[in-house]
């Protein structure tokens, strides 16, 4: 292994970082406004659709795309593809940022956010029937685990810092982290398995109000499968863009090899879902011709598109093709998750929901903040590998 992660260097003050900071600033102002006046005047949420964009996009879709750390760790540590190790650290960074964003979005979304500390602390009140409690505790723990997993990137930089305290702390922490790494990485694999599947269980409680095309006891497994392929696609996306941005040689060879492991997952997802629909005698609903059936059919097309796009080794090694297939994977999983949380939820004809402008701008601001943090961190800390082995 001849690769080493290095800071990318370069100026932190660029047009891009300024634009991102501007969007983040706008989002921050709107967040303050939301906290002062409440959710009613600032969002399109209502008593029929109590969950909206912040949950369906920032949390349910965002954490899945942020499962890159999870997907790559499975491949590297469990399937023992150690030569792909250079992919781990950038994947962990996107995961840590994505999950932190999701956690922050939840705090803005919930009405009584000042009570949120009670969820992990008041263990004698824990309701073990609540899938949401499992999701909440798991995501809180996972954000913590992700930053610990990533922390060597910071300590490696700080171990030569001119601040004595920082230097000492870094030098003490690094060997400790190395010893504990097995336990931490295993935790980093366990926690997403738990909460990504529970995100599926969560909507099952809507019972008769969840449309039959999405209403299946296999939802937990479907959510788990889709988070792995979306996480992988997120890594492809991030790797392609960062290689353009920082003029690195791209990771296509490694990513192409991993794609071979992801394609069967896309097939498994479709087979499982269609099989379940057939088993329940609901296949006909796919041809009902209404908006929901069209969206459901589109999900299947998007899930199968990458299978065709990456059908040969040659196609998988084409960076453009790989990038397009990754986009299809992200759209497929995102649509499936949006549909399950918003479209499939049928509170009644008197209710409607489409996100308000402030809702959208807050999400845009937070995503801009995430990208900004990514750029700043990879420029200052050793995350990306500069020299790649082919």
């Amino acid at each position: 292994m001849t690769t080493r992660a290095e800071p990318m260097g370069g100026s932190l003050d660029t047009t891009a970082t300024r634009a991102l900071a501007g969007l983040l600033g706008l989002g921050a102002v709107l967040i303050v406004w939301r906290l002062i006046v409440g959710l009613g005047p600032t969002t399109a949420l209502n008593d029929g659709y109590p969950l909206g964009l912040w949950i369906a996009f920032d949390v349910v879709t965002g954490t899945a795309v942020a499962c890159g750390g999870y997907a790559v760790a499975i491949l590297v540590y469990i399937l023992n593809k150690g030569r792909y190790h250079p992919l781990v650290r950038p994947a962990l960074l996107t995961s840590a940022l994505g999950y932190s964003l999701a956690g922050f979005s939840v705090v803005i979304d919930i009405g009584r956010w000042w009570n949120v500390w009670k969820v992990p602390v008041y263990f004698w009140h824990w309701n073990f029937n609540s899938a949401l409690l499992e999701v909440a505790l798991c995501i809180m723990a996972y954000v913590f685990v992700l930053w610990i997993e990533l922390s060597p990137a910071f300590f490696e930089r700080w171990q030569d810092s001119s601040f004595v305290a920082l230097r000492r702390m870094s030098r003490a922490a690094l060997p400790m982290l190395k010893k504990a790494s097995l336990f931490i990485i295993a935790l980093g694999l366990l926690l997403p398995t738990m909460h990504q599947s529970s995100l599926g269980t969560l909507m099952l409680l809507a019972g008769p109000r969840l449309h039959p095309l999405w209403n299946t006891p296999w939802l937990p497994l479907l959510f788990l499968i889709s988070c792995v392929s979306m996480g992988y696609a997120g890594v492809v996306f991030e790797s392609t863009l960062s290689s353009r941005l920082f003029g690195r040689r791209s990771d296509t060879a490694m990513l192409a090899a991993l794609a071979a492991a992801i394609v069967p997952l896309q097939i498994a997802f479709v087979v499982l879902r269609l099989g379940d629909l057939a088993w329940q005698g609901r296949l006909g609903l796919l041809f009902a011709g209404d908006g929901r059936s069209v969206l459901a059919a589109l999900e299947y097309v998007l899930f199968l598109a990458p299978v065709v796009m990456l059908s040969s080794a040659e196609r998988r090694r084409d960076p453009g093709q790989l990038f397009r297939a990754a986009l299809a994977m992200i759209f497929a999983g995102a649509l499936f998750r949006f549909d399950t949380y918003l479209v499939a939820f049928t509170p009644g004809p008197q209710w409607a929901y489409f996100p308000s402008v402030p809702e959208l701008l807050i999400t845009v601001g937070l995503v801009a903040g995430e990208i900004l943090a990514y750029i700043l961190i990879v420029k200052m800390f050793p995350v990306l590998a500069k020299e790649q082995v082919a």
Binding site: G38, I78, K118, W124, S130
Partner: protein
């Protein structure tokens, strides 16, 4: 405080038993209404739609009037249950206006409430008399209860910066004073009456037997969705009144049994953690051996 400590101890014991691989106690699954269960019986054939109950409810619960639909701000006229209306009288009329019926909507006080299954810290919970009550101190405002309730009952104070969940708590503050719920107390036609659930069920069946043909021969809530403590008698099909066909299995049972199946005794996650650690440890030693071979 005493209750909290006892609950804490119980949680520790349950967690301990769970960690030891024992079957966790299914305390929250109620097959039957609690022995002290109280409720309401509403009869569509008696209600004249005067909405006195709505006014009395707002007064008893110190709720402001909802004048959204009244430009001159003269009427308490909520379009549906909301943060300012814990009960609403609705009117169903079919296309030709021949079949009509009023319906009183409020919390059904399910025997096995989906909202309580959803609620992370048990803010919404069946407490005394089987009444599903709300404790704002344990609520983070996540609104998962609104997603879970098949009757679309819990409502949120959207226009507040410190919002609470609002729903009928069967006037439990009045019950504590020995009074009955405001809605049943003021009803001039006794279309809604209050009592022990078992007595109300008997009374409903007596009315059906006494006047054949007057009612759809079914007491809604006896077993629907696992049973509710608010019961309905109707002369029009219940689904017209917004009372969905739910079957007899408690609504939250499927999601809950799936969750419990996966997490029984926390055994599966612990086993998975062990297997993951083991596989990685093996992979790592294999890699180390490879390096040693290379070095030789």
């Amino acid at each position: 405080m005493g209750i909290s400590r006892r609950a804490a101890l119980k949680t520790v014991l349950v967690a301990g038993a769970a960690a030891a691989g024992a079957r966790p106690a299914k305390a929250a699954v109620l097959a039957q209404a609690p022995a002290d269960a109280v409720g309401l019986l509403y009869d569509t054939t008696l209600c004249i739609g005067c909405k006195t109950c709505m006014v009395a409810c707002n007064e008893a619960n110190a709720l402001p009037a909802d004048t959204t639909l009244s430009p001159a701000r003269l009427y308490h006229a909520p379009a549906d249950l909301n943060a300012r209306a814990k009960t609403v009288i609705k009117l169903y009329a079919d296309a030709d206006g021949m079949t009509r019926s009023y319906l009183k909507a409020q919390c059904m006080h399910c025997i096995d409430p989906a909202c309580a299954t959803a609620c992370m810290l048990g803010s919404l919970q069946k407490r005394e008399f089987g009444i599903v009550t709300y404790d704002p101190d344990l609520c983070v405002g996540c609104r998962y209860c609104e997603v879970a309730c098949p009757f679309n009952v819990p409502k949120f104070e959207w226009s507040s910066a410190a919002p609470k969940i609002v729903k009928c708590e069967l006037c439990n503050h009045r019950l504590a004073e020995g009074k009955e719920p405001a809605c049943s107390e003021v009803c001039p036609r006794h279309a809604v009456i209050f009592g022990k659930r078992s007595d109300l069920l008997k009374e409903a069946k007596r009315r059906i037997d006494e006047s054949p043909g007057r009612y759809i021969p079914k007491v809604y809530g006896e077993t629907d969705g696992g049973g509710t403590q608010v019961l309905y008698l109707s002369h029009v099909p219940f689904e017209h009144l917004g009372l969905p066909a739910l079957g007899e299995t408690p609504g939250p049972e499927r999601a809950r049994s799936l969750q419990h199946g996966i997490y029984r005794g926390f055994a599966a996650p612990l086993a998975l953690y062990g297997v993951l650690g083991l596989v990685m440890w093996r992979n790592r030693s294999a890699a180390a051996e490879d390096r040693n071979d290379d070095a030789r």
